[in-house]
Symmetry: C2
Subunit: 350 residues, 2 copies
DNA sequence: CTGTTAGCGCCTTCAG
DNA sequence: CTGAAGGCGCTAACAG
């Protein structure tokens, strides 16, 4: 079967509109109910009819209309992955794009088409709220919603399964979340520093709107225990490199009494290292620095980052799997939380 | 109006199914045809009726069903951005995610919902082919299709507007393309090297399946003219850092007679610089190196990359705009090509 | 096993 | 200005 059949092409030229199930039925000499059965894998179709239908479909280039099918069947076989990006400037994080690929894989294998939607303005949030309430998809994967996010409100009354990518303190969002064990991870890498004789540690915390930032800070607190000193914590406004540089500046007066800086993520760590270098401190000799995420950047910088690794593809897969379970009717406790493991990857910066 | 109204909530509890246009009509005391008119901004609705309908909608939390509307109206108000990723390992390129944001903006402003779909396996390609032929969206934005891509075949018989992100030699794809002036850009930065006294130039070319790779190489050829020497060209298998390293290795025997290496993109350039350093050559003193894309990485490495900048958000916006034009009925020449300008950004590596 | 038929929720003439 | 009715393309329940 070649893709292009001249005869077929000319046929199509004379009949420029898409064939419907009735056209196929007519071609095959059966009623269109039978064609529908064939299409949906119903047993009760004679071998003979099946063959004629198959031929008719082939010949007419028939493909079922998605809207009609969704309407009749009351489900779309589509899952939407909604990702919130802070602004037009920020782009999609590497971890998010990896998770997308993971989720896309398992959803696709299960016969669902995943589509991703970007929310980055009030207007888009508005539009998405409409969409979600219009039975656009059978289920939703929510990425990086901040605590007080207006986008989250869009899902308050949704009658479809939803899975979140971050744990949250927000009590009115009755959806399971799958997240990394951020607290454990940060605790572990902090202990690693401690075990290596770094005793005067500082911390650069992620932005306040992010639950993840808080969880990672908690892990740091766990590890340092009574040595925790609020004066050696810098609260960044975002997750970017610049924030790391600002943190180092803020710490400057006490840098001589600091021998390690634990950062909320890799980008911040890179910023810290850069700024420390400008101040004349070398990493890790003078001050050890750790990141979090093990993003592609971790390998690019000098020194290479010692950081907490998380498997983002797995994150996407795990989220998709529990969504599928819900789609299949399995009841999941509304505030169910699954924490994915992280691991320390030791490189040069600490 | 608070989002959660206890009374409404309990009402919903007793009537667990979504309200339809008929429910709204009943509540407002009009026929549902009138509600439909109201919904679609038809003039012929009395002020009185409009108000009652608005109240009924508010009260019932009504949102039109997407599938039904699409079916009746024969359009979805949706545009799909399809992006092909080489494998599960490769993630979404920064430039692509930026273009996504740009296109999303323009499309959203025009009342379309953009959804992005990932193609990364035969199975997903298969599924997408079905989708595209099922009137899933009103138009398509195609990202990074390789020349002989099977995915491209999915669009051979589509009856909807399509815009491509790369120019191509493939003649059977009658869709306009919007691309960067890759050839011009590479020619310009090569000339820049030449003008700065670099006379023995080598080139690292992108993967063969990519038209872009060829266009950039052509730009290099333009600039060096008769000095072009096939022995100083390395053909990479992909766009990644590792390929740059391999290129440097391949060039090693003649490195002493080379004073500049023009690379197909930033990642490759970074790989080249790294490997050169290992061989004991410094950049740019011994050998100047240039990139292409001005990706976020360009600023992170040492020395910072001198490269060709392209505005990826603009790319997305431009593609969306011509798609909109086609959606609005403007005829666009099938093989129309628009080339977006690039600029040289001088930093440290050359 | 197969034809018939009643919707799915909404849009859009067509009368009135 | 508004109600009634046919249809968008397909599914599913019901006779036969």
């Amino acid at each position: 079967m070649t893709t292009k059949q001249p005869s077929t092409m000319s046929t199509m030229a004379t009949a420029p509109k898409k064939p419907t199930i009735r056209d196929v039925a007519r071609l095959a000499g059966v009623s269109y109910g039978t064609v529908s059965r064939y299409l949906n894998g119903n047993e009760h179709v004679s071998k003979d009819a099946a063959e004629r239908i198959a031929a008719a479909i082939e010949q007419s280039h028939y493909t079922p209309n998605k809207a009609a099918r969704s309407l009749a069947r009351q489900r779309t076989q589509t899952v939407a992955l909604i990702i919130q990006v802070e602004s037009n400037e920020t782009m999609v994080q590497a971890s998010v794009s990896e998770a997308m690929v993971g989720a896309n894989q398992v959803l696709g294998d299960a016969g669902y088409q995943m589509v991703t939607i970007i929310a980055n303005s009030d207007e888009s949030t508005q539009r998405i709220t409409q969409l979600v309430n219009s039975d656009f998809a059978d289920g939703y994967l929510l990425f990086s919603l901040s605590e007080d996010d207006s986008l989250a409100n869009a899902f308050l009354n949704v009658r479809r399964p939803v899975v979140r990518s971050e744990i949250s303190d927000r009590g009115d969002l009755p959806y399971p979340a799958i997240d990394f064990a951020n607290r454990d991870g940060q605790r572990a890498i902090t202990r690693y520093l401690l075990d290596n004789g770094r005793t005067r540690l500082a911390y650069v915390c992620g932005p306040g709107y992010s639950p993840t930032a808080g969880n990672r800070l908690d892990g740091f607190k766990d590890a340092v225990g009574d040595d925790y000193d609020e004066r050696r914590v810098y609260y960044a406004d975002d997750w970017e490199i610049t924030s790391g540089e600002m943190a180092a500046v803020a710490f400057q007066p006490q840098l001589d009494r600091i021998d390690g800086i634990v950062c909320a993520n890799d980008s911040i760590a890179i910023g810290v290292i850069n700024q420390l270098a400008r101040f004349g401190y070398t990493t890790p000799d003078d001050i050890a620095v750790t990141g979090f995420d093990d993003s592609p950047l971790a390998l690019l910088v000098n020194p290479k980052l010692t950081t907490v690794r998380q498997d983002s593809q797995l994150h996407g897969r795990a989220m998709a799997e529990t969504l599928l379970r819900m789609l299949h009717g399995t009841a999941i406790e509304p505030h169910h939380v699954e924490l994915l493991p992280t691991s320390i990857v030791k490189r040069q910066s600490a």
